[in-house]
Amino acid sequence: MQITLEHTNSSEIARELVLVRKASGSPAMDMVLTLIVVCDDETVADALHAATTLSKEHPARIIGVIIGKGSGAADLHAKIRVGSETSGESILLRLSGRLVTHAESAVLPLLLPDSPVVVWWPGQAPTDPSGDAMGALANRRLTDAEAARQPVRHLRAVARHYAPGDTDLSWTRLTPWRALLAAALDQVRSPVTGGLIVAGSGNPAGVLLESWLESRLGVHIRWRKVDSERIEQVVLETAEGDVTIARGADGSASFSVPGSGARTVPLPTRALAELLAEDLRRLDADAIYASTIRHMLKDQT
């Protein structure tokens, strides 16, 4: 069921939500979090699609916030959707005029009681997410450096304002790589003496991987720049020989550790909804991410 409200306010929206929910037989009373998606007209379609896919396995109240033009009188339009296709509720707010600078005031009354709040900026995020008025409503803040104009620079800028609960989606994208590397060192006993990352120069995931490896292994990791948007290869050097993981075709990678031949292992590229699902699995602070970006900032060269 979909309802459009023009020139409205938050209490009207909240009242309508209750009515709509009753009318569709009270679905999804077990919603467990509020997901705020701060976007613009360009990013709204993809972002809400991902959020809705996510809510199929995980009912949430999704509040999409489109920040419009800042000029003119404050105005708020809302579109409410309950039941159809999603197992939770979704509200799309379109803000304009002076309200743009007070967007959080429209969102605050619509948060689910007591349960966690996650805010996600699919486009350019503020450099200080927890200091941002919208970000301050949330326990978890998801930024995406790859959507920024200068990804690595943005990643570092946001990292300087780190607060527990912040993570960047490029860290999430890194998990399959990290899992393979950890599995490799499960098999190799001797200590790592050095390493190499082969990736494009502006790759924020590569930067995080470098920092993570350096902070965990205590060795210097070299970087070979290639013309690619992704991480292509990672080598860890040990006295027994090299651990090499190289991205192959069709979502696989070649995996070799000293003492056995190269094997093919899966290394799929994950969709946005899968990334969000991983992030929402844990709503507390990610300590490993925190120590990784701490190392990244210390090691700035």
Binding site: D30, L54, H58, L180, G259, T264, P266
Partner: protein, 518 residues
């Protein structure tokens, strides 16, 4: 529940705080005996594919099939692929399959053929070299219990049961997985345990009851012990009785050979329902490791016994021809492979009393059956009525007892049943349900029971599954009931598609209670 000290040691890239990194099993192989059987095809192989697809199997994982068929690797590969494709819950990816296929081996032979065992041995040796399984092998006995002794003794004879003394792989492990039923009475359970224990150390034996996945056990533990709300009323002061039900809507299907002579009580009550009862009734363990849990469960099982009058407080029955869910179905005696004079029960109900301070006077009613109204497994804790109701008897005519129902399957969750006023000017109170479903509330899909199980075996995670002592204690509870039934001249019946025989209702009525309709 960490893998520390197993195969990982001090891997600098692993950190207990790093919750994103999946627990990947170390290098190893899984050898399945009876790989062409129903269980392996429907459950084990799809679960292995799903694990591979989720990236939880180690690079270089090997799957070895052992069966009495003239398969080459290719034919076997096709069989595995078809089974994986048919049963997988995750999307099909050809690259994952290729990875899995690289580690597939097949050994042909029967269990009494020494040459076959030698071939298995050399296959595993070759895998250690080529695939890098490093001497780590798990053996899954997906075979009838009657064959356990020969397989276990051959594993020992050909040096497969232990990796000790192999200088190349000082840390290598061997593990064995056996499925319920664990024997058919106390005597046979003891014999079976003795055979397995003689060959494998206790921590290497994984006794699996696939009805009771680890996920379910942990859900019950979290519900009971992570909350303050329920524990204060979890005793005989407030609880009237507990009903534990496992109902199936299907008949025995193709399992006639296994089921006839075993029956519902041995098949399900002995392991599954008594385990559920122990989890619901036990005191809080001091920690959640497998050992502390086992200690608490054993206390309950050791103090539980069937109601003193077995003739009044047990029921057993067979289904007869009838209409189940809109389909006309055969009675048990008409099923293929069942003799006309079979006395095997397809429905069993037992009252169990637990002699502890917490549960004195609170009967636990266990029932299990095939061809019942619908498929459901649940634990219902039924509370006493409020001691005083300040309403007229008309007002509360439709008010039942408060109940807390832990739904195990399908649709795992918790239902709380309590009274509420019907809106309007008349004071009328009626029962309502408050409902929570795991499936609707968490991001993560519950892993399928077999996935979790295989992963635990490969990780060496101490199982929450019953140990020999628990198995034997459970038989001690059930043996007198089964012996009592064996002395009866006849067995009750119930039409297929209903909720069991009248004798089951009568046994509840004697205590002034009635079964819930789950």
């Amino acid at each position: 529940m960490t893998v520390e000290g197993m195969t990982v040691g001090a891997n600098p890239l692993r950190d207990p705080q790093d919750r994103r990194l999946p627990q990947i099993a170390g290098p190893c192989s899984l050898v399945i005996f009876g790989v062409t059987g129903d269980l392996a095809q429907r459950k084990l192989i799809p679960a292995i594919y799903d694990l591979a697809n989720r990236g939880l199997l180690p690079p270089g994982f090997a799957l070895v099939g052992f069966a009495r068929h003239d398969f080459g690797k290719e034919t076997f590969g096709r069989l595995v692929k078809a089974a994986a494709k048919a049963g997988a819950r995750t999307p099909w990816r050809e690259s994952v399959w290729k990875q899995l296929y690289a580690g597939i081996q097949f050994v042909e032979g029967s269990f009494d053929d020494d040459d076959a065992w030698r071939r298995l041995r050399s296959t595993l040796d070759a895998l250690d070299q080529k695939q890098g399984t490093q001497g780590n092998h798990a053996f899954y006995l997906s075979i009838p219990p009657g064959l356990f002794p020969v397989v276990v003794s051959k594993l020992k004879e050909f040096g497969l049961a232990t990796a000790d003394g192999d200088p190349r792989y000082p840390q290598a492990w061997r593990r064995v997985v056996i499925e319920k039923p664990f024997g058919h009475d106390l005597q046979s359970a003891r014999e079976l345990n003795a055979i397995v224990d003689e060959v494998f150390p206790a921590e290497s034996v994984f006794r699996i009851d696939h009805y009771l996945g680890k996920e379910t056990v942990q859900n019950i533990l979290a519900f009971r012990f992570a909350n303050q709300l329920f524990e204060p009323v979890w005793n005989s002061n407030y609880v009237d009785h507990v009903q534990i039900t496992m109902a199936e809507d299907i008949g025995i299907g193709t399992r006639a050979g296994y089921y006839d002579g075993i029956g519902a009580a041995r098949d399900v009550i002995q392991n599954h329902l008594l385990q559920l009862m122990a989890l619901v009734a036990m005191e809080e363990p001091v920690s959640f490791d497998a050992k502390s849990l086992r200690i608490e469960k054993q206390k309950i099982l050791a103090n539980a016994r069937p109601a003193p009058r077995l003739d009044l407080h047990t029921a057993h029955a067979q289904y007869t021809r009838g209409w189940a869910g809109g389909v006309e179905v055969d009675g048990y005696l008409d099923e293929e492979g069942i003799s006309k004079d079979s006395r095997t029960e397809t429905f069993a109900a037992v009252r169990v009393d637990i002699g502890t301070r917490r549960w004195a006077g609170v009967p636990f009613y266990l029932r299990v059956g095939k061809r019942l109204g619908r498929r459901v497994t649940e634990v219902a804790v039924v509370f006493k009525r409020a001691p005083h109701l300040p309403f007229s008897s008309d007002d509360v005519e439709e008010l039942g007892e408060n109940a807390l129902v832990m739904r195990i399957q399908p649709d795992e969750g918790v239902t709380l049943r309590f009274g509420a006023k019907v809106p309007g000017t008349v004071m009328e109170i009626r029962d309502v349900n408050m409902d929570f479903a795991y499936g609707g509330t968490f991001v993560e899909d519950s892993p399928e029971a077999y996935e979790r199980l295989i992963l635990d075996v490969l990780l060496g995670d101490p199982p929450l599954f019953p140990q020999p002592e628990e198995v034997e204690l459970s038989w001690q509870i059930l043996d007198p009931v089964i012996e009592h039934w064996a002395r009866q001249k006849s067995i009750d019946t119930y039409p297929a598609g209903t909720w069991g025989p009248e004798s089951a209702d009568e046994m509840m009525a004697r205590d002034g209670r009635r079964w819930r309709r789950p």
